[in-house]
Symmetry: C2
Subunit: 162 residues, 2 copies
């Protein structure tokens, strides 16, 4: 079965991370288990300099896994990017109910755009675009109503499709 | 084909991470691609507070993946530990030539013990134990000869078995 996926897209600094941060608890309160995938155009650093995982990688390990009783982490150096569908099939536990991506605006998944009118003249997409579920206006903060409406849409149109 | 694996074991503070840090460049200079798996008894923190991946996890995402052109990272909350063979089959790229684990002293892989006589009276294992390739004495630093000999052993007895 394909995992339900929705991509939160928008210009940089439009508030995508903040929106996701507030949407996850709303969806969890409805009983869904959530995974996220953040698409990063830049080089990101995830591990902390000096820690063992960092020391393994600095020494030249291409893949480093950290495993404990309650957590698993993996960092891998790549020669080319792994595409979204491969991430979904290889790295996401099938026990989650919904995958939220931050980014992947050129991907083929259903999308919600975060649009911040104070920073941009117009959104990237139009409400009528087939892949767009909705465009959420970021007026410096998201209202409970906005979050509730988006969670409803995701329940009906993304999770409901499963 | 099974991946060649060697476990670097020893009491805490015996110098396992430092040894691995120095062994990896020696093995890389011989042309091998290396992955590492660190077994952590404690709770580890890998992501940096305030960063987007951390914010996703704090909000309640059970799995968070970060993907860029040259790196992939994944952090997953678990209900129980993933065993080593499952990590090897699910999270380690088959293109590596050798997997070095830090820890897993009760596992069934070939082992090299790091023994620090200044801290402990005797090693955990005996040289005659079947799974023990060798016991490396940590006399406050590892010599080029120690590293060279261990790399030879790994080449002959671990990678050579493939």
């Amino acid at each position: 079965m394909e995992l339900p996926v929705v991509s939160i897209v928008g210009n940089s600094n439009s508030g995508k991370t903040t929106f996701i941060e507030q949407l996850i608890p709303e969806l969890k309160s409805r009983g869904y288990r959530i995974a996220t995938i953040k698409h990063d155009a830049h080089k990101f650093q995830i591990d902390t300099p000096g820690k063992d995982s960092w020391r393994h990688r600095q020494a030249g390990a291409e893949t480093v896994v950290l495993s404990s009783r309650n957590k698993l982490a993996m960092i891998r150096e790549l020669e080319r990017e792994v595409d979204l569908d491969k991430i979904l099939s290889n790295y996401i536990n099938s026990e989650v109910d919904l995958v939220i991506t931050e980014g992947y605006k050129t991907g083929d998944k259903a999308k919600i755009e975060i649009f911040r009118p104070a920073e941009y003249e117009q959104p990237l997409f139009s409400e009528t675009d087939e892949q767009i579920l909705t465009i959420v206006r970021n007026e410096e903060e998201f209202s409970a109503q906005q979050l509730d409406e988006v969670a409803d849409l995701i329940e009906e149109q993304i999770i409901g499709l499963g």
